[in-house]
């Protein structure tokens, strides 16, 4: 069957198997930044944005996203021109093996797009579907805060919003 979607800003017409999940479709297009750690909807490494909402692409039937706007990690930025959230994860030292990182960044983007200055509890909630086996999460929290400030600066309302991000 045919699927019409915009992937990272580009309109695509794809031929897909009816039962294919979105994550596999994306990976077959070479967008392997979207990872698959469980295929059970528990690890979040397959997270992509579907019309701005974070979704586990391992469980989502590709057929269900007809007409949607999909953003993957590759759509945020690349090594030459990274997105501020990607820069923040680098600066915070929030990356170890890096397997969870694309999903973490996608969740962070979804959060900060909607709530530029989230509370600690909101950050925790937003990241609760993303497992990381390496970092212990502390530096991922740091990354979210650094991203928050970078984005606030970039959008021009660089007013100081610093607040303690952990108890």
């Amino acid at each position: 069957m045919k699927l019409h979607v915009r992937i990272n800003g580009e309109a695509r017409e794809l031929e897909i198997a009816p039962g294919a999940v979105l994550g596999d479709v994306l990976r077959q297009l070479g967008l392997t930044g979207t990872k698959m750690g469980c295929r059970e909807g528990h690890c979040g490494s397959c997270m992509v944005l579907v019309n701005g909402k974070p979704m586990n692409s391992c469980l989502l039937l590709a057929a269900k996203v007809e007409g949607a706007e999909i953003t993957t990690i590759e759509g945020l930025g690349d090594v030459r021109n990274p997105h501020p959230i990607q820069e923040a994860f680098v600066e915070a030292g929030a990356v170890q093996c890096g397997f969870c990182t694309p999903g973490m960044i996608i969740s962070t983007k979804a959060l900060l797009d909607n709530e530029p200055h989230p509370s600690l509890e909101r950050v925790r909630e937003a990241l609760s579907g993303n497992l990381c086996r390496c970092t212990g999460y502390a530096k991922i929290f740091d990354a979210v805060r650094i991203a928050e400030h970078k984005l606030a600066k970039a959008s021009g309302n660089g007013k100081s919003t610093r607040r303690p991000h952990r108890p």
Binding site: R27, L31, T32, G33, T34, K35, M36, G37, C38, R39, E40, H42, C43, S45, T72, I73, E74, L76, G77, D78, V79, P82, Q86, E87, F89, V90, E91, G93, V95, Q96, C97, G98, F99, C100, T101, P102, I105, R124, L127, S128, N130, L131, C132, R133, C134, T135, G136, Y137, A138, K139, I140, F141, R166, P167
Partner: protein
């Protein structure tokens, strides 16, 4: 030092955050053949016959292979080669592989698996120590179900317990089977071009994997090449072979075709080795003042179906059975028992983690009986400089006590920042810690642990790292190391060590790692050894290169090399800023003179075997690491739920080459330790199947389960390590689990004997305490502190 000690950005971070990094599973290309593995239907059975004809007849199937198609020994295993690549006569656990299918696509491969007919003669699966050791129990291996043992005989523990000890505590502690659960599932590809078999699969020691694959598949070692793709975590879980032989065999049978295999999470959990579940019977005796006198320890270890690294894990358990404490009389017996559970092998902590739960738990029981503070009892017993550890090795720099002090300072600062570095003030804050909570059924507790860890393989096992360095035509320093990056930051460590040793900019360093045909052997990324071993090898190679450069520079500057400084790629004469030279210029000059700009080095410190009769050795390990944790929990006594409020982890890492990476290792290790303490457990059904082979039921710590882990870096430079560094990988996990369990014990007044301390187990423990009259509905400390 200008680069060592700085938190430079890890060199693979930018690629990782943009999704550009290619892990094993990302190597798939259109046209590759798909490999799938048929696993045992029974946990324990004889194989009567295998009929692959129906599977072979399925269109799209390229081949179906069983044990008889394997050209070599068809066996692998890191210590004993007892594990079949494909089962021949018998299956010994549910994950045992029986056949592989090679097909044009995934669906066909899956369908073909269903068409393979295997006739079994099932035996009754063995799950427990009792079943395994029953006189009439069927044997998993010809040598019997007792796989082996380790012992410590130091002093006379029996007599000391009887005659010298004024107080004795005794208990049995059971630890669980744990899965590594790295997120990056086993996956990768292979190609046989008619001459060379190349395998792109993540492991932990490419050169050993090459040897094992060559033996099992019947190839000369030089005809196997292993290249490590990016790796999403390992934690010991990639130490045994995973899919290497399956893709290797498939590639050999289909020359010229790339073959690909990727496990599902369920298959990954069903197939892979696990952390050993131990039953530890511990008797600890002391004087009334809390001084330890004797320990008697008997350990039963579930080795599962195959040996894996079990013997070494048992040894680590015995040699670490009294941790960082001074115990003059030690008697320990560790027995490994085969069962039809998954093989058990390496996992972060490697036997030392389970024993830490026991000795720390026993110290807490002693403290409770003696009415002594849990920090105080540890202070009285931690080793001091120059005292012997369990195996009688003298610890010249025993920094366990200092780690405890630093953890305590951090604890106190969190409550009263004015404490600063005042240890007496910190002690006062500790002593007045609060047990007040919102309600009496919410109980607070504080746990303390002090741990040690012998770095490297030890026990006279050849333990070595090699490195080669060269300046290329662009004047970049190329570093070649066989060591694997699994996420810990090894590549960045190598860059920093090389740049520091040569006085060049980190940007000038390019690392080539983990390719058996390009890089020299460096041993495994395990045993917390790579900073110490590969860091040392890289430094030694760079030191020699530096000497050569100084010889050239000497004639330019006309002064003794001692007066030449190289920093940031610029040579200067000490005290004369007018005289300077770019390293590029120096390298050109060296080339003009025909000086070789390539060196290599071997770092191979020797250890001494632990004697069979008493387990003692003057140098069982090259060096020891120490750490101390404090954990604060809140236990809901009505639901059994435990919330960790604070967790402090202080570790002596020698020298933090990259403090940010060290903190990351500490925080990550603690989180895995919390997982082990509270939630992670592989559960087997009576048929030997893992009942929770997936993240739905195998619960990992999430962002909701861990506090902001407070990592404290203690630096006591180790003169034998590179720039004073030794290592950090495993100790944070080892320290975390007992600290969490100790905190729960403190909160509810009774210990948890079987871990993980799930809400149900905590609740049941409380119920039992109530039944035994050991429970007060209101903790007097709560009453006291609520009033305060």
């Amino acid at each position: 030092m200008s680069i060592v000690g700085k938190s430079i950005t890890r060199i693979d971070a930018e690629e990782k955050v943009t999704g550009a990094t290619r892990y094993g599973g990302d190597l798939y290309e259109k046209g590759m053949l798909h490999v799938k593995v048929l696993r045992a239907e029974h946990a324990f059975a004889e194989i009567v016959s295998i009929d692959t004809s129906a599977a072979l007849a399925l269109p799209g199937v390229c081949g179906v292979y069983t044990a008889k198609d394997v050209g070599g020994t068809n066996r692998h295993g890191l210590i004993r080669r007892d594990q079949p690549v494909l089962a021949d006569t018998m299956v010994r656990y549910k994950g045992d592989p029986v056949a592989i299918v090679v097909a044009e696509n995934d669906d066909v491969a899956r369908e073909a698996l269903r068409l393979i007919q295997v006739e079994y003669k099932p035996l009754k699966p063995i799950h427990t120590f009792e079943e395994a050791l029953a006189p009439d129990a069927p044997k998993l291996h010809p040598e019997g179900n007792l796989m082996g043992g380790k012992r410590i005989r130091k002093g006379d523990a029996e007599r000391a317990l009887r005659e010298e000890c004024e107080i004795v505590v005794e208990d049995t502690i059971e630890t669980q089977t744990v899965d590594h659960a790295f997120l990056d599932l086993e996956s990768g590809c292979a190609l046989y071009d008619g001459d060379m078999l190349t395998i792109w699969v993540s492991g932990q020691w490419v050169h050993e994997e090459r040897r094992l694959v060559a033996l099992a598949l019947g190839l000369p070692v030089e005809k196997v090449r292993i290249i490590q793709p990016a790796t999403g975590g390992a934690f010991g879980g990639r130490e045994d072979l995973s899919i290497q032989c399956f893709v290797g065999l498939a590639a050999l049978k289909h020359p010229g075709h790339k073959v690909y295999l990727r496990y599902s999470r369920a298959e990954s959990m069903a197939a892979r080795h696990k952390r050993h579940a131990l039953r530890i019977h511990y008797t600890m005796g002391a004087k009334r003042d809390g001084r330890l006198v004797a320990a008697k320890v008997t350990v039963w270890s579930d080795e599962g179906a195959y040996a894996s690294t079990g013997i070494a894990v048992m040894r680590k358990a015995s040699s670490h059975c009294t941790g960082p404490y001074r115990v003059p009389h030690v008697w320990a017996d560790v027995y490994g028992v085969h069962t039809n559970n998954n093989p058990t092998g390496a996992m972060r902590g490697f036997g030392a983690a389970q024993l830490a739960i026991a000795y720390e738990g026993m110290l807490d029981r002693l403290a409770q009986e003696l009415g002594m503070d849990r920090v105080e009892i540890r202070r009285r017993n931690v080793l001091r400089h120059g005292e012997p550890i369990t195996t009688n090795q003298i610890i010249t720099e025993a920094t366990a006590g200092e780690c405890l002090d630093r953890a305590l300072l951090q604890f106190a600062k969190g409550i009263d920042p004015s404490v600063g570095d005042d240890l007496a003030a910190a002690q006062r804050v500790w002593e007045s810690r609060s047990y007040a909570t919102r309600a009496p059924w919410l109980r607070r507790g504080y746990g303390v642990s002090v741990v040690c860890f012998g770095l490297g393989y030890g026990d006279a096992f050849p333990d070595a790292a090699r490195a080669r360095v060269r300046f290329n035509e662009r004047n970049e320093l190329e570093v070649y190391t066989g060591a694997v990056e699994v996420g810990q930051g090894l590549l960045t460590m190598v860059v920093q060590v090389a740049a520091e040793a040569l006085g060049i900019e980190p940007e000038r360093v390019r690392v080539f790692a983990a390719d058996t045909h390009l890089t020299p052997e460096a041993g495994s990324s395990s045993a917390t050894r790579q900073t110490y071993f590969t860091g040392s090898a890289v430094k030694l190679a760079c030191d020699e290169l530096r000497e050569r450069l100084l010889d050239v520079a000497e004639t330019y500057f006309g002064v003794h090399p001692f007066e030449i400084k190289i920093s940031n790629g610029i040579l200067t004469k000490v005290g004369d800023s007018g005289k300077r030279m770019e390293i590029d210029e120096l390298l050109s000059e060296a080339r003009r003179r025909g000086v070789s700009l390539e060196t290599q080095a071997l770092f191979k410190p020797r250890t001494i075997r632990e004697r069979d009769e008493d387990g003692l050795s003057p140098r069982a390990f090259v060096t020891y690491l120490f750490g101390s944790h404090i954990c604060q929990v809140l236990v809901d006594t009505e639901t059994g739920e435990v919330r960790i409020e604070r967790h402090i982890a202080a570790h002596d890492v020698g020298k933090a080459i990259n403090p940010e990476l060290v903190i990351g290792q500490i925080q990550g290790g603690v989180t895995q330790g919390i997982g082990m303490a509270l939630m992670e457990e592989v559960i087997y059904g009576s048929d030997g199947r893992i009942l929770n082979a997936g993240f739905t039921d195998y619960i990992l710590p999430s962002v909701r389960d861990v506090p902001n882990i407070e990592a404290v870096i203690v630096e006591h430079e180790d003169p034998t390590g590179p720039f004073g560094a030794h290592g950090v990988g495993e100790p944070p996990l080892i320290g975390a689990t007992p600290a969490v369990l100790g905190a729960i014990h403190d909160a509810i007044g009774v210990p948890i004997r079987r871990i993980p301390a799930t809400p149900e187990r905590v609740w049941r423990t409380i119920m039992q305490a109530k039944a035994e009259g050991k429970w007060q509905d209101v903790d007097p400390r709560w009453e006291r502190d609520v009033k305060r």
